[in-house]
Amino acid sequence: MYQYDDIDQRIVEERVAQFRDQTRRFLAGQISEDDFRPLRLQNGLYIQRHAPMLRVAIPYGVLASRQLRKLAHIARTYDRGVGHFSTRQNIQFNWPQLEQVPNILAELATVQMHAIQTSGNCVRNTTTDHFAGVAADELIDPRVYCELIRQWSTFHPEFAFLPRKFKIAVNGAIADRAATWVHDIGLHAVRNESGDIGFRVIVGGGLGRTPMIGVVVREYLPWKHLLTYLEAILRVYNRYGRRDNKHKARIKILVKAMTPERFQREVETEWGRLKDGENTLVEEEVTRIEARMVRPDYAVLSPEQPAVLREALQADRAFRHWHERNVQAHKVPGYAAVVLSLKATGRAPGDATAEQMEAVAALADRYGFGEIRVSHEQNLILPDIPQADLPALYAQVKALGFATPNIGLLTNIISCPGGDFCSLANARSIPVAQAIQARFDDLARLEDIGALDLNISGCMNACGHHHVGHIGILGVDKHGAEYYQISIGGNQAPARLGKVIGPSLGSEAVPDAIEALISVYLDERLHAEERFVEVVERLGIEPFRESVYAQSEPEALYA
């Protein structure tokens, strides 16, 4: 992770002072509600159903153990002892007091953290592959570029008040683990014929009300032009994006309205003016950021599987399951990356208590190099664990409740906080997630079903990424009652949007519907390796649809 220098630190501290002053004046009636709203939003503070909600930035999902301890402390001191990890690799606190928020920000600043631009119509937290620096298929470490973008976008004077929020994702590997096709801007590291690093630039993807897959506006952008090119895109968007209707204000709508070809021409014209200007990156800056990234000091370990691991795998079936599902390969011999599942049955997906956060921080210190990742699938990751330590680590992770061996399986549900917390939601998500997890709470069955992404959003803003779930569930409000629309065939990478199978269902009918989808899949698959999403691709949605609605009671439907 990036270590601040004195200037980075000062900027964050000045932000705390600014927000403390703004909050004081708001509470004293000197700033109106209307004026305070955009100001607090740019500090991640929403006014929610029960209380304000504070969203804290976890830049590109990387945390040091001392930072996670600080988050635990904040959860315990200012909240009800729980934090919610979001699909934007951030953490949300649902019960802080407005008066206390400046103090929370001050606490965060002591560990080089902030809530800057985690909300509002500005450039949000840049996200990336949660296995950055660990994955074997990596061309570059995307975190260096994420940090460059973080600094460039922090308090960017021209782009603080865009038509709508703006999300950038960077992927540095062959496989896209950063959902770059469904971001306002997606960046893929690529090498040109001479071996130089650059980016494929994708614009205008997004989920939400009008889901779209992005379009490539540039196949190869040399890395040193990254910031000037981003400025050109943002300037075209800032000037021409719609501001009269917030549902049509995202850049994807502009790209579509202009046509990708014309949008690209506008960007290239603008870039022609900015190219080679002062914002052009230089090698020394990339090196400087690299040098400030704390890297694990890996030991030289044997590439052979350690005996202690081999024995544990033979002796302990539960450990073997966990190892298969939740332990990922590492590019450094002898190490592994461990996914801690925040998706135990009965728990709100993505939630962790203060005690759990502290325990994870302790595990990261003891077995790893004091680093933790947050994945956009709302799990935590210990990225650098010696394989010989896996059995001992497993026992402790299990005691914490984070060892559910369901990574990549149906119960690893992505879910937004939904109507239980969020004032935008049309329906609750957490109880639906819990009901599905309870229905499929059988490991052998989950393993038999195999790879399946099930994503739930409580409204069309799609924080739960339902469009790109193999099964997507969207909460809708029908005359004050909660209903759920089911889609199938979505995929994260390569990005594909799911198709709605039919009328919405009442919440009690959802687990049955999922059951029906799964039984069609199990009947129709050609072999055990053919995944659910592949069967949907092959057969289309019709057989699935028939099965779901054949068994539904008519009153459970809402056409």
Partner: protein, 172 residues
């Protein structure tokens, strides 16, 4: 005369916004619409008083580019402070058209908005009614540093760091 903030000082404003040139004194400092500017450019050019143009955030700087050499002032009116189009207008005027006259923010302008606006090239600010001008001056000082290249500081932080102009002691 009404007051405004100019170059980080409270000053009085001599300009007057006029709808037409009828009966306007030759020496008066006036602000006209882009339409008047284009239609009556010959007359405006020959006047003694200073000349400004009034832009909405929806107006494009390209439309006044041809007249910039004769303009002393461009006013950008913000219907709401979160209408960020005005920020791009100022940057384009400064960086692309090299306009060196006054660029003035008017409308929904107050202390919290000054930092971003000034970095985009605004150097004058007519605050909305009820705002204390002297108090608002602190808005320029909220942050002592910024990462990006801007009109105020054309070199981004990373270049200034490398040139050794500013210290960068590592933090533990």
């Amino acid at each position: 005369m009404p007051e405004l903030i100019r170059n980080r000082r409270v000053e009085s404003d001599s300009y007057e916004k006029v709808e037409s040139l009828d009966g306007v004194s030759d020496i008066a400092d006036i602000i006209v619409s882009p339409t008047t500017l284009a239609a009556q450019y010959r007359i405006l050019e020959g006047r003694t008083g200073r000349l400004g143009v009034w832009m909405e955030t929806s107006d494009a700087p390209e439309t006044i580019a041809a007249y910039l050499a004769q303009l002393d002032l461009v006013v950008v009116y913000f219907p709401a402070f979160a209408d960020g189009r005005g920020h791009s207008i100022a940057r384009l005027l400064r960086e692309q058209y090299h306009f060196e006259g006054e660029i003035r923010a008017a409308g929904d302008v107050f202390k919290e908005t000054l930092f971003y606006l000034s970095r985009c090239g605004f150097d004058a600010f007519v605050l909305r009614p009820g705002e204390a001008l002297e108090d608002a001056l602190a808005g320029f000082e909220t942050f002592s540093e910024a990462y990006q290249a801007s009109v105020e500081r054309p070199s981004p932080l990373f270049r200034r760091r490398l040139m050794g102009k500013i210290g960068s002691e590592p933090l533990s």
